[in-house]
Symmetry: C2
Subunit: 308 residues, 2 copies
């Protein structure tokens, strides 16, 4: 069964990892948000691509979810001494990814090509595709004005109150041919438990993506569990936008795209309302603490997806 | 006494360090070769500037002379895993210098400005000036064709037989205003014990430099001791060019610029011939093993320089 997973950062990477454990490599494609990509110290940084790549390679930091396990920070310490920008934390090993990626991009390779080469070197089996080879930049509109995503997310630690979002460059961006082909041949599409606003909406906003999704069975997995996000600002954003902080709000957000919705057992009471929106619902344990959790949830999502 | 030292890599950096120990910071300017500069992984690397800067900051690796003491290599290990170019060894801490320099250059700063900022951050007192803000690239002409300097020096470990040198870009390069002003107000100029062909000749070949040197007391310090170079390919180059491998050949090379020449006691027998070239000669111990050696030799060179 050909499956395409759409993913952003840590939560999405965990389910994508689970899917990679239960599917043959050639049957899984992970399409990753690049709206968080930015230039830092002149280098091209792709935080979500790295999180997904490191997680599928088994190299991700087990606690933070981003960056590499066993990382060292000697570069950053030296950079600080030189008076350089250290607000975005680049580990010594992680830096190799940013430099190699930037070097290849400067040489004329596309982000899709570079991602393929890096994944091959790290022996990642499933295909990881950036959503686009164009520049799309997520801007967070806040009570303090519009901020670059990493400025909001890392430097300001999500403190400013969110009023909306804008994807700069989206008007002239296109999904890559590889992404559109993967979706065209997909038998199931999984929206991973990533932030709806800043991880999956950039992918879903690309011209051509929704048209590919409409005829497919699309299953969404809620990143909100018991009114909270496992990680990241999804819950805070929902609240600041005046929406209910629950998996119900997530289901409503994706409503027009979904066939089915996966939510946690702690939210079971909300399931009738979601079914009332015309969606099939799977209620299960969606917290992924261990690798086994990831594989189990992935298996359940696949079974649920094909059963409809 | 205002002193300008011309220097390339490790040997030159040692004497420059010695001079920094015996002169007030405002009285010493070190003009450094940038013919070895190159682009690697898309970054701007200035090996000689770094060697001089690290040495004067007291941060240089005590054995290799290049790179930083207590360096770690996690970046390089990760880069190797990604299939990146690892023939030029970039340490984790050293990388901060290359990235910060490159980032500032891309932002429009000159190499002179960047060098000033990095030296200020590392609390280097004397002024370190790149010889030019233009691109000059030393090419080594060999039996295997013309090679980029780092290709010859690092990748091929100086193995190809040398037939000559070319400084690409020299025809349109200029010494910086800062370099020309430092030389104009210099009371003494010291040619550090650096490679004559690939460290000092690029500096001396820049338009305007020789004119500034002609009226000044210029003292050369031999990098050849007992027919060998302490470090680097100077002796091998002399031999391959069909020249005598001795401090005499070095004195002859600089002859038209020099007032005085400093050579090691092991070469004392050559001193009459050098005096016969019309040069004053100081014969002393020129091997700099310890910091005290550097300061002592620097003091002797200064005393010798002003006594003429």
């Amino acid at each position: 069964m050909k499956v395409v997973a759409l993913a952003g950062g840590v939560g999405g990477a965990k389910l994508a990892h689970g899917l990679s454990l239960v599917l043959s490599p050639q049957d899984l494609t992970v399409v990753v948000n690049t709206g968080d990509d930015f230039q830092h110290l002149g280098l091209h940084i792709s935080p979500d691509l790295d999180t997904v790549m490191y997680t599928l390679a088994g190299l991700a930091h087990p606690e933070t979810g981003w960056g590499l396990a066993g990382e060292s920070w000697n570069f950053l310490e030296a950079l600080e001494r030189l008076g350089g920008d250290t607000w975005f934390r680049l580990g010594d090993r992680d830096l190799a990814t940013h430099i190699e990626r930037s070097h290849r991009l400067w040489g004329g390779a596309t982000l899709t090509q570079v991602t393929g080469a890096l994944c091959a070197a790290l022996e990642v089996g499933p295909r990881i595709l950036p959503m686009t080879d164009d520049v799309v930049q997520t801007r967070v509109q806040t009570s303090e004005g519009e901020l670059d995503f990493q400025e909001y997310f890392v430097r300001r630690q999500c403190r400013p109150r969110v009023t909306g979002f804008r994807f700069a460059g989206m008007e002239s961006a296109t999904a890559t041919g590889q992404v559109l082909e993967a979706l065209a041949s997909a038998e199931l599409v999984v929206l991973c438990p990533s932030n709806p606003f800043v991880s999956l909406d950039p992918i879903l906003s690309l011209p051509g993506i929704r048209e590919q999704l409409t005829p497919k069975p699309v299953i969404g997995v809620s990143p909100i569990i018991g009114g909270r996000a496992i990680k990241g600002p999804a819950a805070k954003m929902l609240a600041e936008l005046g929406l209910e902080v629950s998996s119900l709000a997530v289901a409503q957000h994706y409503r027009l795209l979904l066939r089915g919705f996966v939510m946690d057992t702690v939210d079971e009471a909300l399931s009738p309302e979601i079914r009332g929106m015309g969606l099939r619902v799977l209620v299960t344990n969606t917290v992924m603490k261990t690798t086994a959790d990831r594989a189990r949830l992935a298996g359940e999502v696949l079974k649920f997806g094909i059963s409809g």
